[in-house]
C-alpha cells in the first residue's frame, strides 16, 4: 500500500528559489492591499455621495466583487480583456483581480466601520473649525482604522492566499508558480507542495504577528 520514497533533498535544494517566490507572493499581496484600500475608500465615499452614477458604480463593483469567485475575476481580466485587444500579463491580471476583490470586501468593512463612528464626532470637529478633509483625516479615519484593523489583517492574509491562483493563468514566479515549475520538472508533487504549504503558513502567521504588534503600538492611547 505504501511504496513511495520521499525525496526531500531535491525539494530542499529548491528552497532558495521558493523563498524568492514567497517574496513575490508577499509583494503582490501587499500591493493589492494598498491599491484595494485606496479604491475601497473611494467606493465608500462614492456610495455615500449624492451622485446617482457614482453610487450605482460603487454598488455594482461591490456586488460583483463579492458575488463571483476571485478566480473568475482573474479569468475575465486575463482572457476576457483579450476581446478588446488588451493583452495583459498574468501577473497584472492576478494583481488586478485580487485588487478588485479586496476593494469590494474592504468597502463593506469600511462602511460598517464608518457607521460605528458617531456622526456627532464629525460635526464636533467641523464646529471646532476644521475643514472637511481635516476632520476626516484627523478625527474619522483614526477611529475608523481602529475598528477595521482586524478585518484588514484578515483581508491581507486572504490576499496572500489568493495569489496562489496566479498559477492557473500561467504565472510562474510567485510561490505557487515556482513550486509548480519544479513539480513539472521532477514530479515530486507532494514534497514541493508540502514545503510551499509550510511557507504559506509561515507568511500568514507572520502577518498576523506583525499586525498584533502594530495594533499594540498603535492603539495604546
Amino acid at each position: 500500500m505504501f511504496d513511495y520514497n520521499f525525496h526531500w533533498r531535491a525539494a530542499f535544494k529548491a528552497l532558495p528559489d521558493m523563498l524568492n517566490g514567497a517574496w513575490v507572493t508577499f509583494e503582490t499581496a501587499a500591493l493589492s492591499m494598498i491599491l484595494g484600500v485606496t479604491i475601497a475608500l473611494f467606493l465608500v465615499f462614492m456610495r455615500q455621495g449624492k451622485n446617482r452614477l457614482f453610487r450605482g458604480f460603487a454598488a455594482t463593483w461591490i456586488s460583483i466583487a463579492r458575488n463571483t469567485p476571485s478566480l473568475f475575476q482573474v479569468y475575465i481580466l486575463y482572457f476576457g480583456l483579450g476581446s478588446f485587444g488588451l493583452h495583459i500579463s498574468s501577473w497584472a491580471a492576478l494583481l488586478a483581480g485580487i485588487t478588485i476583490n479586496n476593494a469590494g470586501y474592504l468597502a463593506e468593512n469600511f462602511r460598517g466601520g464608518l457607521k460605528a463612528v458617531p456622526d456627532t464626532q464629525l460635526r464636533a470637529a467641523r464646529s471646532l473649525g476644521m475643514s472637511a478633509p481635516q476632520a476626516y483625516r484627523l478625527i474619522v479615519i483614526p477611529q475608523l482604522l481602529r475598528i477595521v484593523f482586524y478585518p484588514l489583517t484578515n483581508q491581507m492574509v486572504w490576499a496572500v492566499l489568493m495569489t496562489s491562483m496566479g498559477v492557473i493563468v500561467g504565472l510562474n514566479n510567485d510561490l505557487t508558480g515556482v513550486t509548480q515549475d519544479y513539480n513539472v520538472k521532477t514530479f515530486r508533487t507532494f514534497e514541493f507542495f508540502a514545503i510551499a504549504a509550510v511557507l504559506y503558513y509561515l507568511i500568514a502567521k507572520l502577518i498576523v504577528a506583525v499586525a498584533r504588534l502594530l495594533s499594540w503600538r498603535l492603539f495604546r492611547y
Binding site: M1, F2, D3, Y4, S63, I64, R66, N67, T68, P69, S70, L71, F72, Y75, I76, F79, G80, G82, S83, F84, V157, L161, M162, S164, M165, V167, I168, T176, T189, F190, F193, A194, A196, A197, Y200, Y201, A204, K205
Partner: protein, 216 residues
C-alpha cells in the same frame, strides 16, 4: 458583430458544470457543518483540552485551498487510495469548511451568557438538556449569518477544484472558450450564473434570518 457560435448545447454544458459546483458545495457544507458543530462545541465547552485541535484547524485556514487540493491529491496517490477527484475535492473542502465552521459555532456558543445556562441548570435541566434546549437555539441564531457567509464563500472557492481536474462551472466555460474563442461572452455567462446562485442563497438566508428573529 453580435453573431456568436455559442449554442444551446454549450449552455447546457455550462449548466452541468454549475450543477457540479452546487453538488460540491452541498456535500462539503454537510461534511463541514457536521464536523464543525462537533469541533465548535468541543472548543467552546472544553477550551483548554482542545487547543491542539485549534492549531490543526488553523492550518487549513492559513494554507491556500489550491495547495491543499494538490497536496491531498498527491497524498491520495502516495497512500494508494483509489478515490475519484470529486471525493478528494469533497474531503478537502469539507476540512476547509470544518475549520471555519468550528470558529463560527464556537463564537455562537460563547455568545450565550453563562448566567443563562446556570439559571437553566438550577431550574433542574440536565447538562445535555441545557445544551440542547437553551444553548443550541440561541447559538444557532447568532451563528446563522456567519454560516450563510461561509456557504457563499465555499461556493466561490469551489472554482479552484478545476486544478485537480473536475469539470465545474468555470472549467466548463474555459473548455467552451477554447473551442469557440469568445472568452468575454462565455465568461460573462459563467459570472452571471455564479452571481445568480450567490444572490439566491444570500436572499434566502436573509429571509430566514428575519423569520427567525420574529419570534424572539
Amino acid at each position: 458583430m453580435f453573431e456568436s457560435t455559442f449554442t444551446w448545447n454549450d449552455l447546457q454544458f455550462m449548466l452541468q458544470g454549475a450543477w457540479v459546483t452546487i453538488l460540491l458545495t452541498v456535500v462539503s457544507m454537510i461534511i463541514g457543518t457536521l464536523a464543525g458543530v462537533v469541533c465548535g462545541m468541543a472548543r467552546a465547552l472544553l477550551p483548554r483540552s482542545t487547543i491542539p485541535l485549534a492549531w490543526v484547524l488553523d492550518v487549513f485556514r492559513s494554507v491556500p485551498l489550491l495547495i491543499q487540493f494538490v497536496l491531498f491529491n498527491a497524498l491520495k496517490s502516495i497512500v494508494g487510495l483509489n478515490w475519484s477527484a470529486f471525493a478528494v475535492a469533497c474531503v478537502v473542502l469539507g476540512l476547509y469548511v470544518t475549520a471555519y465552521c468550528t470558529e463560527i459555532v464556537r463564537s455562537g456558543v460563547l455568545s450565550v451568557p453563562l448566567t443563562l445556562r446556570r439559571a437553566s441548570r438550577s431550574l433542574g435541566l440536565t447538562y445535555w438538556q441545557d445544551l440542547r434546549q437553551i444553548v443550541m437555539p440561541m447559538a444557532s441564531r447568532v451563528a446563522f449569518p456567519g454560516w450563510i457567509n461561509l456557504l457563499l464563500g465555499v461556493m466561490k472557492d469551489t472554482a479552484l477544484v478545476m486544478w485537480i481536474g473536475i469539470v465545474e462551472l468555470l472549467r466548463a466555460s474555459q473548455t467552451i472558450v477554447t473551442r469557440i474563442q469568445e472568452p468575454l461572452l462565455v465568461l460573462c455567462i459563467a459570472g452571471l450564473i455564479y452571481y445568480v446562485m450567490s444572490l439566491v442563497v444570500a436572499r434566502l438566508g436573509a429571509r430566514l434570518e428575519t423569520r427567525w428573529q420574529e419570534n424572539d
